[in-house]
């Protein structure tokens, strides 16, 4: 009991600490972008903390019927935003409040999917297909906005749930192989090595019956062989280019590569101790695009150096580790729910920093609790609050 209380306090403490560092950074950035950003973000943080307190005290019912209602509402919102005629199809304006739909529906969808995974007892191939289908619905709707970065979360969540779930190894491997085959298909040598090793493993493993072996072989070879074929032979040149830029904007000669370089310049010029608070030069020269949202980490790293940025990374590590441990300590539905919250913050952490540090393509995902943005902050505060509420 004492242990759990401690965890509860630590989660809150780390969440607040990251938010304060984020506020400092936005204050510094907003001096060249206009103070209004900072003032707005302060109000987002206050609303977020309020949401944290409200939702950490409620007792969430665990009803299957309710989860269907939630899912239907989420799908309705995601379709509704697609029907907008003009502008970016990511935002909805209801009763004077604007919010980013793909973030706003997260609590509803996590609730529904947790329930589905928790209630699923049979754990056969068909069940996994069904669950994958459920995950792909929000994925496709967000992809149509179009927002590949945010959509990716739902597939990522599937992977996390699958590993966590009690599906047999062969089913987990089926999806892992599919995924790896797809990723590696763009490099022939890697694909060859991967397929040889995994095929040997599958074929000479006595645990698998013939049917499983067939399935797994297909999973290893099919995506890797068909995707490059379609890509090279069916698609036209301009379609290929569009897909490459879509998947990896930094290859686009019109600018993303330049952004990453500028981000690295900002981070690198911070050195060990940084240039000091408010003394960063890159953002004020408008070198850094999106210094308050996508590239928030870069401007922070410039001003606070290796000391500051590694401290920030460790704070995220603590937050993620605690959420994961909490999920393990809880049971049943709540365990899946907290894992969904963990997955959301983990996804934002590694796609945002991975993009900024040049390890992954840029996705435009903000760094949760640190970057500027209302919906993302408030929704994740609420999710942390809900996670804490399960401890009681």
């Amino acid at each position: 009991m004492r242990n759990i209380l401690k965890l509860h306090n630590r989660l809150f403490f780390v969440f607040i600490l990251i938010s304060i560092l984020g506020l400092l950074n936005i204050f510094s950035v907003s001096r060249s972008f206009g103070e209004v950003l900072f003032i707005r973000h302060v109000s987002y943080v206050l609303i977020g903390i309020l949401f944290y307190f409200i939702f950490s005290r409620v007792k969430i019912p665990e009803w299957k019927e309710l989860s269907y209602v939630f899912f239907a509402l989420a799908i309705f919102l995601l379709i509704f935003v697609l029907l907008k005629e003009k502008g970016v199809k990511r935002w909805l304006h209801i009763a004077g409040v604007s919010f980013q739909v793909s973030d706003a529906v997260k609590p509803l969808i996590i609730y529904f999917l947790s329930m589905m995974w928790f209630k699923n007892k049979k754990a056969g191939y068909r069940d996994s297909f069904y669950l994958f289908f459920l995950h792909s619905i929000p994925f496709i709707l967000v992809l149509l906005e179009p927002d590949l970065g945010s959509a990716g979360y739902f597939i990522f969540l599937f992977g996390v749930y699958l590993l966590f779930s009690r599906f047999e190894l062969k089913i987990k491997l089926l999806y892992v192989f599919c995924f790896l085959s797809l990723i590696l298909s763009f490099n022939f040598i890697l694909f060859l090595i991967f397929s040889a090793v995994s095929l040997l493993y599958v074929i000479f493993n006595a645990r698998f019956v013939t049917g499983d072996k067939l399935f797994l072989t297909l999973a290893i070879l099919m995506p890797g062989l068909t995707v490059p074929f379609v890509f090279n032979n069916v698609l036209k040149e301009y379609q290929r280019k569009r897909i490459i830029y879509f998947l990896n904007p930094s290859k686009d000669p019109r600018g993303a590569g330049w952004q990453i370089l500028q981000g690295k310049l900002a981070i690198g010029s911070g050195g060990i101790f940084g240039k000091g608070f408010l003394k960063g030069t890159h953002k004020s020269l408008a070198f850094l695009p999106q210094a308050h949202s996508d590239f928030a980490f870069s401007s922070f790293a410039e001003e606070f150096g290796f000391i500051g940025s590694s401290f920030l990374i460790l704070l995220y590590f603590l937050l993620l580790r605690d959420l994961f441990n909490l999920s393990l300590n809880l049971g049943g539905f709540s365990s899946y729910f907290v894992l969904g919250v963990f997955a959301s913050i983990f996804y934002s952490f590694f796609t945002n920093l991975g993009g900024v540090l040049g390890l992954l393509p840029l996705t435009g995902i903000p760094l949760t609790f640190f970057s500027y943005g209302g919906t993302n902050f408030v929704i994740h505060s609420m999710l942390i609050g809900l996670s804490v509420s399960f401890m009681k």
Partner: protein, 534 residues
């Protein structure tokens, strides 16, 4: 066992990502920190605007009437010092041995209008974008259309500026150019108009003796507008370049209002021209017989009031055709009495002649016609009556029309019912404008309009052109502030009308004496340049 293994993978991935990121920032900030620091301190980015060119405007004969010329902008220590100067002027500054200042010169495209003041209000001018336009994402230095065609077709004509990005070292020298690919400027698209600028220049020469006026020439079959002239005008080139703000202020303060496009914004009493509407209503309602004669003594008694004819001694025996030919007021007082105020007002509601013509220009005004409510408000509940109908019938009532509306009305009369609405962009399709009268009645009216120009007593005979049959109508609008506005409107060739010409000369006198001969010269020009040539 497997479950625990899977959870370990998840936990391991958190550790792995954290360590990977820590290693990466260690590499960027500490191992390569100095390298990045040096680069970041010494190099600044600079955005250089690559101006786009605004689309050109051509007239119907392919003459280039708005394009761009090169002008120079001189910067001293990075700030604009001289705008739109010639190269010779720049050389003067650069040769100055005393100047220790850093000068830089930019060659920029400036708008140029070779026809200067011809159709200036119709073409319109450009200027720096308004705050609202900047909010909508237009570059603060990109000029947008402010009036006329330049405004109406701004989205076609306007280009999109590009930028290039230079890296500049601490001393302001260019460090490298190609760090970030430049955004190429996109030029605006050209447009071709239906206007004839040589005709405009000719009309301007005819208007030389007069201060104010307007002229419209259009082709009713297609809606093409050949001339949309308004005087006084101004040189469009004054509103682009170094002194544009002062010049615009000067033009705005001019009491003659040169910015007003009288052809579409001037509201005038149509005067006797309006007798065509009175005639058409009377024919449609069957209140007159075209062969019925009246005797005009120069006066018309109505109750205890006497209404005068414009010709004091009267016109003698007058039937419908004679009435139009000599523009006999007495005849039309009688016709108006028979129509009655109520019927007039009903027709005004029905007729579309007071509506905007929807020409492709901003700021078009619509005409004005009275209603019962208007009379009650103006004259009191019992202060108006059938006497108002008599004034309406000869066009001296409260009715006001713009030149383009009158020209369109005559287009529809010339084509016996309907014609195309006017437009300035070539090949633009417009709707039909229709009159709610039987074409046989319009044909009767046309016969009378023929006599206005071709008859020996016709008020518009001074508009006559040898070898060409013309139909038309004069109008003299009484003006309480001074001399009358002389007006004349004509269509020709009478047998197969292709053109409508409308002329108004403000404060000049009688329509038949001033406007008709002026219009006659324009008709002759068109006859020679267009009809004979084809």
């Amino acid at each position: 066992m497997e479950k625990i293994f899977s959870n370990k993978i998840l936990k391991f991935s958190v550790y792995f990502v954290t360590v990977l990121f820590l290693f990466k920032i260690f590499e960027i900030q500490i191992l390569k920190g100095e390298f990045y620091e040096e680069k970041a301190i010494t190099i600044k980015s600079k955005k250089i605007r690559l101006p786009s060119k605004r689309g050109r405007i051509f007239d119907r004969k392919g003459r280039n009437v708005a394009y761009w010329r090169t002008g120079f902008r001189l910067l001293r220590n990075g700030e604009v010092f001289l705008e739109d100067v010639s190269f010779e002027e720049i050389v003067n500054y650069l040769e100055d041995p005393d100047s220790s200042k850093i000068f830089s010169v930019y060659a920029l495209p400036y708008r140029f209008y070779p026809y200067k003041n011809i159709y200036a209000q119709t073409i319109g001018f450009t200027g720096l974008p308004s705050e609202k336009e900047i909010e909508e994402g237009i570059d603060p230095l990109l000029r947008t259309g402010k009036s006329g065609i330049e405004k109406f077709y701004d989205e076609i004509l306007r280009g999109k500026d590009g930028y290039k990005f230079l890296l500049i070292d601490a001393k302001g020298r260019v460090y490298s150019e190609e760090t970030r690919p430049p955004i190429e400027p996109v030029d605006g698209k050209d447009i071709t108009l239906t206007l004839d600028f040589e005709l405009g220049r000719y009309i301007d020469s005819l208007f030389k003796p007069y201060e104010k006026g307007a002229c419209v020439v259009l082709k009713p079959k297609t809606g093409e507008v050949l001339a949309l002239y308004s005087k006084p005008s101004f040189d469009l080139n004054l509103l682009t370049g170094k002194r544009e703000k002062e010049e615009l202020l000067k033009i705005l303060n001019d009491t003659l209002k040169p910015l007003l496009n009288r052809a579409i914004q001037g509201l005038y009493p149509p005067g006797s021209i309006f007798k065509v509407i009175t005639s058409l209503i009377a024919l449609e309602e069957g209140v007159i017989d075209t062969n019925e004669f009246l005797y005009c003594q120069g006066k018309y008694r109505f109750g205890n009031r006497v209404f005068k004819d414009w010709k004091e001694e009267g016109h003698g025996r007058v039937n419908f055709f004679r009435g139009i030919e000599v523009s006999c007021d007495v005849y039309f007082y009688e016709v108006s009495k028979r129509i009655g105020l109520k019927r007039f007002l009903e027709y005004f509601e029905k007729l579309k002649i007071f509506d905007k013509t929807d020409i492709d220009l901003p700021g078009e005004k619509k005409g004005f016609y009275p209603t019962i409510e208007f009379y009650k408000k103006r004259y009191g509940k019992y202060g108006y009556g059938e006497g108002n109908a008599l004034n309406l019938g000869i066009g001296q009532g409260e009715v006001l029309m713009t030149p383009i509306e009158i020209a369109l009305l005559f287009g529809a009369i010339a084509l016996e019912g309907k014609c195309k609405k006017p437009h300035l962009l070539k090949n633009k399709e417009t709707d039909y404008f229709e009159l709610p009268f039987k074409s046989e009645n319009i044909r009767i009216l046309k016969k009378a309009l023929f006599r206005v120009v071709q008859g020996d007593k016709g008020t518009g005979r001074l508009a006559g052109v040898k070898g060409l049959n013309i139909g038309g109508k004069t109008g003299t609008a009484q003006n309480p502030k001074g001399e009358d506005h002389a007006q004349f409107v004509a269509f020709f060739p009478f047998e197969n009308p292709e053109y409508v010409v409308y002329v108004i000369v403000e404060n000049s006198g009688m329509g038949g004496e001033i406007a008709a001969p002026l219009a006659g010269k324009i008709i002759k020009w068109i006859y020679e340049k267009y009809i004979k040539a084809s």
